[in-house]
């Protein structure tokens, strides 16, 4: 029996209705129904616990009032570069039925936990990015607005051999909705073929009445690279898991994250990498700022398997606290099964450097302005990684707006 409560009008009929409206093939209906069946037995995603404390309280989510499966609405703009397909999920099923069938659920098992199953059973929107062999594409943007109480989405990225693509997927709140709280969920699967390159950026700026759950996972083949950029500014509570499985020799990944919390926001952000082949490299960089009574929870996992010879794996997490009411919890983990590894991680928590601040105020910069400049500077290592210019500008201006 799951610890979470089932939404009121969630039934087989609801799921059939969603699938029929979208004229889906049998396999997808079956997958939705299986996910629905599994809800009974699945648990919520794991949350870190220490003696007497639970870092994020997902049990408190009241799905009955958050989720309305038949009332989902979004407004999504997709722009594609030449030579590739950026399609809605429904279009993709028509145009590339085999591709979608084999990619769907290939990196994320829909029945992995309660929230993935809920998402897989109910999603009504989504995007498929398909980059054929040898094609280089840039600046794919998927900009979504959520216009309903709850919204479930599914994103698939498939890159064939020696192709490359840079992507921005953003989510924000559109029309206001008559509800106390809202729920957004997105599952992102990337299958990066041999020697291909993907940079996938995500920008979440939902209204602060929204609970958000996203799981993003890449299967990285030989000589392929998947770089993630994860930006979180909005929502009441965000649970975000960004994960790479380095399954091919010489595969690489970067997981770069930025969050900026204020008021009562709670960010539970996680970056995980599994080294499963030889000569693989990973670099995990997360930078976060907390103001007011905001709280952050971070888990970073570097897992080096028995056969992952000649691994390089690095992780850094830095949190700045702007307010005394804020709280930062962090757990960077190393799990190493092969000695032919160079691995390190570090984590810091602290205030804006007082000497830097003193230097700037001594140069006649107003203290608040000086602090804000230092905070903006703190995010530079993340901003520098972003290849989609629009994304970098958006993130910069959102950070600047929060500091005003």
């Amino acid at each position: 029996m799951s610890s979470a409560q089932l939404p009121a009008n969630l039934s087989e009929a609801t799921v059939r209705e969603i699938s029929e409206q979208r004229e889906e093939p049998e396999w997808l209906l079956e997958s939705r129904l299986d996910a629905l069946d599994a809800l009974e037995t699945l648990d919520l995603p794991d949350v870190i616990q220490t003696p007497g404390r639970r870092w994020t309280n997902l049990e408190a989510l009241d799905f009955e009032s958050l989720v309305d499966p038949l009332d989902q609405a979004d407004e999504t703009e997709r722009t594609a570069d030449e030579g590739i397909d950026v399609l809605t999920f429904t279009e993709a099923i028509e145009q590339h039925p085999d591709l979608v069938e084999s990619a769907f659920g290939s990196t994320i098992d829909p029945q992995e936990n309660y929230l993935t199953a809920l998402s897989a059973a109910l999603f009504t929107t989504g995007t498929v990015v398909y980059v054929p062999e040898g094609v280089d594409a840039e600046d794919v943007t998927i900009r979504a607005e959520m216009n309903s109480r709850s919204l479930f989405s599914h994103t698939l990225v498939v890159t064939e051999e020696s192709s490359s693509v840079t992507i921005l997927e953003s989510i924000e709140s559109g029309e206001s909705v008559d509800a106390d709280a809202r729920y957004f969920s997105n599952l992102v699967e990337i299958a990066a073929g041999e020697n291909s390159y993907v940079q996938y950026g995500s920008l979440q700026d939902l209204e602060e009445d929204t609970y958000s759950y996203t799981l993003k996972r890449a299967d990285v083949d030989t000589y392929a690279t998947v770089n993630w950029i994860e930006g979180n500014l909005g929502s009441r509570l965000t649970r975000s898991d960004v994960e790479s499985e380095l399954n091919g020799d010489s595969a690489e990944t970067k997981i770069v994250g930025a969050f900026f919390g204020h008021d009562e926001q709670h960010f539970d952000v996680n970056a995980r990498v599994w080294h499963k082949a030889e000569n693989t490299t990973a670099d995990l960089v997360t930078r976060g700022v907390l103001d007011d009574a905001a709280r952050s929870v971070y888990e970073g996992v570097q897992d080096v398997g028995r056969d992952a010879w000649n691994t390089s794996s690095y992780q850094r997490e830095n949190t700045l606290m702007l307010s005394d009411e804020s709280e930062a919890d962090a757990s960077p983990k190393l799990i190493i099964h092969n000695h032919d590894t160079e691995a390190s991680h570090s984590a810091t928590v602290g205030q804006v450097d007082q000497e830097d601040l003193f230097y700037m105020t001594s140069r006649a910069i107003d203290p608040l302005q000086a602090r804000n400049m230092l905070v903006e500077g703190f995010f530079v290592p993340v901003l520098d990684e972003i290849e989609v210019e629009e994304f970098r500008e958006d993130l910069e201006s959102l950070i600047a707006a929060r500091l005003r």
Binding site: M321, P332, L334, A347, V349
Partner: protein, 476 residues
């Protein structure tokens, strides 16, 4: 270098720890754990009623608590069946509370400690020595000059009788209540032996006091309790050593250590653990540190089949500080899960944690640590550094730190590295004429030096010897 190597070969360290003695006991309980067992132990010790009541309450808590099984990557405890353990064995010694002259001990017990080098160390480097054999302290002595200053160093059982007020106030109440974890509860029900150390205000005990714990019988559990009360401005260094011969059945060691560090007092607690590789070592060690006090935990975990040990410091008073130095060495079949816990509950508190681990031949080490900075503990700082060295890809090295920061005016840093033994370093040493084994031993000795240099020379040598013994096993 070569003369030191020869010296090592002459000293058969393995034989020094692994010899067995014919088990001869005056009294032992049945296997297993029931209220009856607890009453029998308490009665055999002629304990006051309050202690019996505490034991029975702890037993109740033990029975209610589930086995810890859901920690990520934790050692497998499924073999630990308390029903198969003999919790209490009183060795055949005339003087119930232990003697203060080695020659009064039965030959086989005296011989045991001679082989372990305890009386020799007492002469040279220690202020006092306690020695526990099975469940009871058989020897306890302290130099007179400390007794004159009011320092107490005695067997814990005797302290229950002779210092009931201090013991009743401090024993498993504020520091390690039995409800803390299942094995603390077990400990509270069947504890026996251990040390009581009391250092009055302003007294500095210049040379360390030491307790040595030896399990000789197969299938027994040892549950000694150590209580250290260091009053304001005092200073003491306590060392514990542990060993047991290897049997096929499992042994269980579940000690409890409580340290009260008074204002501006300084306590160092050093452990060199070399339990046999059939021993489950599940301890609870904790210090409460008052304003300006300083607690140092120094641990070398070499032995045991599985260890779960996370010495904790609760920094209660302004300006209290903590220093953890940990080394773990896991060889074949060993799972050493160890780390540190620090709670910063007051302003201006400081902690540093330094952990070194070595895993080889399929062994697993894990650093599991928690640093908690409470709201209001401003100007606190913590620095955690974990380094792991791995010898092969059968072994596992995990690092799982947890940081909970509720205060903004803090300086928190955690760093960890994992790597293999450097080929270049080995090459360099070989080019200077060392063979492969010697080069690796030398690199490992260098790797753990920050730990060994904190120990008195006798123990540093001992720890190095144990490490080298482990290394020989793998490379020979």
């Amino acid at each position: 270098m070569s003369s030191e190597q020869d010296h090592l070969k002459e000293t058969d360290t393995e034989a020094r720890f692994d010899f067995k003695k014919e088990a001869a006991s005056a009294f032992e309980t049945e296997k297993g754990l029931t209220e009856e067992t607890v009453r029998v132990i308490s009665e055999d010790k002629d304990e006051p009623e309050w202690m019996l009541q505490r034991r029975l309450r702890a037993l109740e808590q033990f029975q209610e608590m589930p086995m810890p099984t859901d920690w990520p990557g934790q050692p497998d405890l499924s073999e630990v069946d308390v029903g198969e353990i003999v919790p209490y064995i009183r060795p055949d010694v005339d003087v119930r509370a232990g003697v203060d002259d080695w020659t009064e001990l039965p030959d086989e017990i005296k011989d045991t400690f001679d082989k372990l080098g305890i009386p020799e160390a007492e002469k040279n480097a220690l202020s006092g020595v306690g020695a526990q054999y099975e469940s009871e302290v058989v020897y306890q002595n302290m130099q007179e000059r400390w007794e004159e200053k009011g320092v107490i160093f005695m067997n814990m059982d005797k302290a229950v009788q002779e210092h009931p007020d201090i013991v009743r106030e401090h024993f498993m109440t504020k520091c390690v209540p039995p409800s803390d974890n299942k094995f603390a509860a077990l400990h509270g029900a069947v504890w026996s032996g251990g040390s009581f150390v009391y250092v009055p205000e302003g007294v500095t005990v210049e040379m360390p006091v030491q307790a040595y714990f030896r399990m000789n019988s197969e299938g027994m559990g040892q549950f000694e309790h150590t209580l250290i009360v260091a009053e304001e401005g005092s200073e003491v260094h306590y060392i514990e050593g542990c060993s047991a011969p290897k049997y096929s059945a499992f042994n269980l060691h579940s000690g409890g250590v409580e340290v009260f560090v008074g204002e501006d007092a300084h306590v160092q607690y050093s452990t060199v653990q070399n339990w046999s590789k059939n021993t489950y070592n599940l301890n609870t060690k904790r210090a409460l540190v008052e304003a300006g006090g300083r607690m140092e935990w120094i641990s070398g975990s070499m032995g045991s089949k599985a260890t779960m040990l996370y010495p904790a410091s609760i920094l209660k008073g302004r300006g209290a500080s903590d220093n953890h130095i940990t080394i773990a060495f896991a060889g074949e079949g060993q799972n050493i899960d160890t780390g540190a816990k620090v709670y910063h509950n007051a302003p201006n508190t400081k902690s540093t944690i330094e952990s070194k681990s070595i895993s080889k031949d399929g062994g697993r080490t894990n650093y599991r640590g928690l640093v908690h900075i409470a709201d209001g503990a401003e100007n606190s700082s913590t620095a955690v550094e974990c380094d792991a060295l791995m010898f092969d890809n059968e072994s596992t090295s995990d690092t799982m730190p947890y940081m909970e920061i509720n205060e903004s005016k803090v300086d928190v840093a955690h760093e960890a590295t994992v790597g293999k033994i450097g080929d270049e370093d080995i090459f360099y040493l070989q080019s200077r004429g060392l063979d492969d084994d010697d080069a690796k031993q030398m690199i490992v000795s260098g790797f753990i030096e920050p730990i060994t240099e904190e120990l008195p020379i006798e123990y540093a040598v001992e720890l190095n010897r144990l490490v080298e013994l482990e290394m020989e096993g793998s490379l020979g």
